[in-house]
């Protein structure tokens, strides 16, 4: 039998005495894959320490922090950073407000059919991808798009609804909704419905029950969702470029431009490294202060 042959090969290559190292070996491929990313970051970190010679378009040999000083000195980068952080904060707030009731209804509904419809409605956009969804919004919100046609029919408009800040934020909310709902839902499932019923049977209005019972108990899910939504919004490239049309760049767009427009890989690397540091520090702070939420891989579940 095939399996016996394989078993013999395994015994030869990996005798029982080696078993204590098994888990390390099982982890090797995954560790190696992530190492590709780490190596790339290290490479980029090194590149960020060299200055581009604007006359010869060669990168210098010497190590210098000049690129980082350049970022600090240019007001453009501060504006882009401020716009990205503010945008990510607004997007996170709006997304969570929309996502929580959705997750709640999806988990609590008595009808299996309703649950299925809500799940499919969530997964469909999640699986369709950012570019296609942004394209759909262009058709709806564009200058000669669906909404302006409707407005035109009643004598209004046309309104400019794309290539501005709100349209970027709007696109981000729509893009991130499924992430938020899928991270919140397990936390809602973990709440015993009896506790809510107890609160309500003691006379608490449902809003009070929500505020004092449901939301605090769903905190792990809300924390995870807030972290993921904020980071993904802060670092997004597609929505600012497609729905913002270059008028409302986020940090990722600034990185791209530094590399491909100004062709300054040192400066681009430095901006990217700063973004990586911001995102990592943010995740670290939130996770230490508020706990891993539903993001942790294994520890909490045992």
């Amino acid at each position: 039998m095939l399996l016996d042959t394989l078993e013999a090969v395994r015994a030869l290559l990996w005798p029982r005495t080696m078993r204590r190292y098994s888990s390390a070996v099982l982890l090797l491929p995954a560790i190696a894959l992530v190492l590709v990313l780490v190596a790339g970051l290290a490479w980029m970190g090194e590149a960020s320490l060299h200055l581009l010679d604007t006359e010869t378009f060669d990168t210098g040999e010497d190590y210098t922090a000049a690129n980082y000083r350049e970022i600090g000195a240019q007001s453009t980068y501060w504006i882009v950073l401020g716009r990205s952080v503010l945008g990510a904060a607004i997007v996170t707030l709006v997304t969570l407000i929309l996502a929580f009731p959705y997750a709640y209804v999806m988990v609590r509904t008595a009808s299996a059919w309703t649950r299925k419809v809500l799940l499919v409605s969530l997964f469909l956009p999640f699986f369709i991808g950012q570019v296609v969804r942004a394209y759909g919004w262009l058709i709806i919100l564009g200058r000669e798009g669906l909404l302006n046609t409707v407005f035109g029919a009643v004598g209004l408009g046309p309104y400019k609804m794309i290539y501005n800040y709100p349209s970027v934020l709007f696109g981000l909310v729509q893009y991130l909704l499924p992430f938020a709902v899928l991270l919140i839902a397990p936390a809602v499932t973990a709440i015993d419905e009896e506790i809510e019923l107890a609160s309500e049977s003691l006379g608490a209005h449902w809003l009070r029950t929500f505020r004092h019972v449901t939301l605090p108990m769903a905190r792990p899910g809300l924390v995870a969702a807030a972290l993921v939504v904020f980071t993904l919004a802060l670092t997004d490239y597609a929505m600012p470029v497609i729905l913002g049309g270059g008028t409302n760049d986020f940090i990722a767009n600034a990185v791209y431009d530094a590399f491909f427009r100004i062709s300054d890989s040192g400066l681009g690397s430095a901006v990217a490294i700063v973004l990586v540091l911001i995102a990592t520090a943010l995740a670290a702070v939130i996770l230490t202060v508020l706990g891993a939420g539903t993001l942790g891989f294994s520890d909490e579940r045992r």
């Binding site: 590709v36 790339g40 490479w43 980029m44 799940l119 409605s121 956009p125 699986f127 670092t235």
Partner: protein
């Protein structure tokens, strides 16, 4: 009861807003793809499949589609064994430095895509594999790997370790026990993870944009390049490919695993 009424009204209103937001782009693309006119207008000029014909006839789009499939396949083929083995190791044994290892394996999620993508662009350039399609697949696998590990881990944590021990006690050799006890038990997780990896790679835009050149553009990049010019209905017809792939993936996921798995608390 009045309270229960107002609760249902408020919650369902928000859900309705969500549903409109989530469905609008998909519906509009479906509608626009069958218009008769040369530009997208509303109401549509009439029903026609001519844009689909144009898309099928376009070698550029067909090639981009095939390349995207190839990238997704490479990504999935690497991710399934690597992610499954890692998840089993994480679930089963007490590993030294477990916490540190978790943080390390979560790096693809915490490192912003533009950072990961630019880093890999520079690294791949140095290694001379930039422009290779399989390298794009590898990159997609790296950035989404936590999804694969997480999916298998969810199943593996539900597996009773005693089952594996029982198999071993009954004399099953390790590989035999693995194939007959462990693998079937985590199969739902592997299927979920594999579908996620495939679909996410098929959709991956930024990393594809960075790592492909004019000869190796994938479908999302090719759609993006066209959006920047004139928006014509043939683009909507291409986008329907995404809607079909997404629908197929959801149908498979629901049939093999059940979408409700995503609601389970850990």
């Amino acid at each position: 009861m009045n309270g229960a009424r107002s609760k249902a009204v408020v919650l369902w209103t928000v859900v309705a807003v969500n549903l409109i937001l989530l469905a609008a782009p998909t519906l509009i693309i479906l509608g626009a793809s069958v218009t008769t006119g040369n530009i997208i207008t509303f109401p549509p000029d009439g029903f026609s499949l001519k844009w689909y014909g144009k898309v099928f006839g376009s070698a550029v789009l067909r090639d981009a589609f095939v390349r995207s499939l190839w990238v997704s396949l490479v990504c999935t083929v690497i991710a399934v064994p690597a992610g499954t083995l890692a998840a089993l190791a994480l679930a089963r044994s007490r590993i030294r430095f477990a916490k540190l290892l978790q943080l390390y394996l979560l790096l693809p999620f915490t490192v912003p895509l533009i950072g990961a993508g630019m880093g890999m662009l520079m690294l791949f350039g140095e290694l001379g594999i930039l422009g290779e399609l399989w390298a794009v697949g590898l990159a997609c696998c790296v950035i989404n790997l936590p999804f694969m590990i997480w999916a298998v881990l969810a199943s593996a944590n539900a597996l009773d370790a005693d089952l594996e021990n029982a198999a071993a006690n009954c004399g099953a050799a390790p590989l035999h026990a693995f194939c007959t006890v462990t693998l079937p038990a985590v199969a739902p997780g592997i299927i979920t993870g594999a579908l996620l990896m495939f679909v996410l790679a098929f959709n991956e835009f930024l990393v594809s944009l960075l790592l492909t050149d004019a000869n190796t553009v994938t479908l999302p990049v090719s759609i993006y390049n066209s959006i920047r010019n004139v928006i014509t209905p043939d683009l909507a017809a291409v986008s329907v490919v995404y809607i079909l792939v997404a629908t197929a993936a959801i149908a498979l996921l629901d049939r093999w695993v059940g979408l409700e798995i995503f609601l389970k608390s850990k």
